[in-house]
């Protein structure tokens, strides 16, 4: 358990951390978040005394950190930084073993520990232990950075924007891995980031700091639901707005697909089939000259007729439902969910057929709004 008690830090006349009080429980994942210069990194570094506090104290399990020798203290706390900071003159194995060696572990214990840790992140010992850091990618290096922090079996790990310098895909992977590691190892982790997405994803509790003050400590859900301060709300605007406002504004126009095949009533079955083949579709919408919706026709329908002499008018299904272009997307969603209809035909106010909404189309569009552009996944 880590307890901040009235902790203050000043640089010259500027107070960067103001009267911080916070308790972090064993096995908890707490994320300090806030804009740059809010004092979050300073707060983190006062735990292992890389930065000394001016007032107040921090207790680790009821022991005042100011009363422990700094180097001894740091050997017992894992530390991961944004710049990774692997020692370029040491191999991966030697890097991992820095703290165990400082703690004077036996050689067998060290050896076993390296094997165990590399296995933990799925990096084979033979392939990786004797490499030098610069032979690895940034993502791999930071995996080792995390292992190095874990090596001395510290109960607490401090992470200062550990994934900030990595590309988005690698960052996601490492976030997931860290989350799994934490579940497995039950470490107490204090994590600093300015990225709210990361905070929401990783944290058991988020500690929001602004201008040296702790504005709110809450679980991600609580903070999203009840931000204690307008600043927090604006910092989370992206998330809040997607949940509250933006979805209300969505119209059918925003969630429909215009990738449709329109055919006139008098088209012959043969022609319709070849058109469908060309566009690689197995259905079409039948309209009149004014593009007014008349019905739908599927490849199956045509084939069922056996002879291919009919025209669209005779073959079409007129039961399909329509919805106005300007109607709320929510209405379209409700109708799709409640009725047996597989799709809704979207018509404009002057009666022209303009698009279609299916369950999968609307789900994809809504997902886009909530989680951002997912095109690269799909």
């Amino acid at each position: 358990m880590i307890t901040y008690k009235n902790v203050c830090k000043k640089y010259d006349d500027v107070t960067v951390v103001k009267n911080l009080n916070l308790t972090v429980h064993d096995g908890e994942f707490v994320v300090f978040v806030g804009p740059s210069g809010c004092g979050k990194t300073t707060s983190l570094k006062m735990i292992n005394r890389l930065i000394e506090m001016d007032e107040g104290t921090i207790y680790i399990d009821d022991q005042d950190v100011n009363k422990i020798d700094g180097d001894q203290l740091r050997r017992g706390i894992g530390y991961v930084i944004q710049q990774i900071g692997l020692f370029p003159n040491l191999t991966i194995k030697e890097n991992i073993l820095v703290v165990p060696r400082l703690l004077k572990w036996s050689e067998e214990k060290c050896e076993a520990r390296v094997h165990e840790l590399l296995e933990l992140v799925g990096m084979p010992y033979e392939e990786n232990a004797h490499k030098y850091p610069k032979e690895m990618s940034g993502g791999q290096q930071q995996r080792i950075g995390v292992l190095r922090a874990l090596a001395g079996e510290p109960p607490i790990i401090l992470m200062d924007e550990p994934f900030g310098a990595l590309d988005p895909v690698t960052r996601e992977n490492l976030q997931d891995e860290l989350k799994i590691l934490q579940k497995k190892l039950h470490k107490t982790i204090i994590f600093v980031t300015h990225d709210m997405d990361e905070a929401i994803k990783m944290a058991d509790r988020i500690a929001f700091m602004y201008d040296g003050k702790l504005l709110q400590v809450a679980s991600p859900e609580d903070m999203l639901r009840n931000p204690a301060d307008p600043i927090i709300k604006s910092f989370m605007s992206k998330h809040v707005s997607t949940l509250e406002n933006q979805s209300l504004d969505l119209k059918c126009k925003d969630v429909m697909s215009t990738d449709i095949l329109l055919i006139t009533e008098q088209k012959k079955a043969m022609e319709i089939m070849s058109l469908m083949k060309q566009k690689e579709m197995n259905w079409a919408i039948v309209v009149d000259e004014e593009k007014t919706f008349k019905g739908t026709i599927s490849l199956q329908n045509i084939k069922k007729q056996g002879e291919l002499t009919g025209v669209a008018q005779d073959l079409m299904d007129t039961k399909a439902e329509t919805i106005l272009l300007t109607a709320d997307a929510k209405e379209a969603f409700n109708r799709l969910m409640k009725s047996r209809a597989k799709f809704l035909v979207v018509v404009s106010e002057n009666g022209k057929t303009v698009g279609i909404i299916t369950k999968s189309i609307i789900t994809e569009k809504l997902a886009n709004v909530v989680w951002g552009d997912l095109d690269w996944v799909l």
Partner: protein, 195 residues
């Protein structure tokens, strides 16, 4: 030109450079670690190099007499600058992330210096030593004036008796020595930097 003088010259240079490297490293590291004495150390080695070599040797001779010791001390004082400066700069420019990590892992000041910072600064230190070696080959020539021997004596005598042939040979020998050391050490230097 006797081979004896070439060997003597090399002896002066090698001895001096061993001391230069040793004291230069220590002074550079001290300047890096203790801020209060930093500008003093860097200032003194700077000033030492502005003293004319002959004057410097003359002063040292007052204490150690006309001997090779005097020459070696002179060379050391004179060539400290590149080693001290490069050691200091090399240590100072080690990646701050690496330094922070080392401290965050709980290494104490000396462990950080010897296990991380000095090994990483070494290529730069070596460059300093190379410069020191090459300059000291030239400075050792002045050694003849204070009875230190070496190729300086050969050149001195050749000038006195106007023996152009020996003078040329000795000069070429000095140039060859400087080039061989410079070239050989620059290869090692590149290897170090590539690591």
């Amino acid at each position: 030109m006797a081979m004896r003088f070439v060997v003597q010259h090399l002896y002066l240079v090698c001895m001096a450079c061993l001391f230069t490297a040793f004291f230069g490293l220590i002074l550079g590291a001290v300047a890096y670690m203790f801020k209060w004495i930093r500008s003093f150390i860097l200032g003194v080695v700077d000033v030492l190099q502005t003293i004319p070599v002959l004057a410097l040797l003359g002063v040292i001779m007052l204490f150690f007499g006309a001997s090779s010791t005097t020459v070696i001390i002179g060379i050391v004082l004179y060539s400290l600058l590149p080693v001290v400066r490069n050691t200091y700069t090399g240590l100072e420019t080690v990646d701050p992330g690496v330094k922070e990590a080392a401290q965050g892992m709980g290494m104490n000041r000396w462990q950080r210096l010897f296990k991380i910072e000095l090994p990483l600064a070494f290529p730069m230190v070596f460059t300093g030593i190379r410069i020191a070696v090459v300059t000291s080959i030239g400075i050792a020539v002045f050694g003849a004036v204070v009875g230190g021997g070496g190729l300086g004596s050969t050149i001195n005598r050749a000038i006195l008796i106007q023996d152009m042939d020996t003078l040329m040979k000795a000069t070429l020998m000095l140039m060859a020595m400087a080039m061989v050391f410079d070239f050989g050490m620059s290869i090692i230097e590149k290897r170090l930097q590539a690591r």
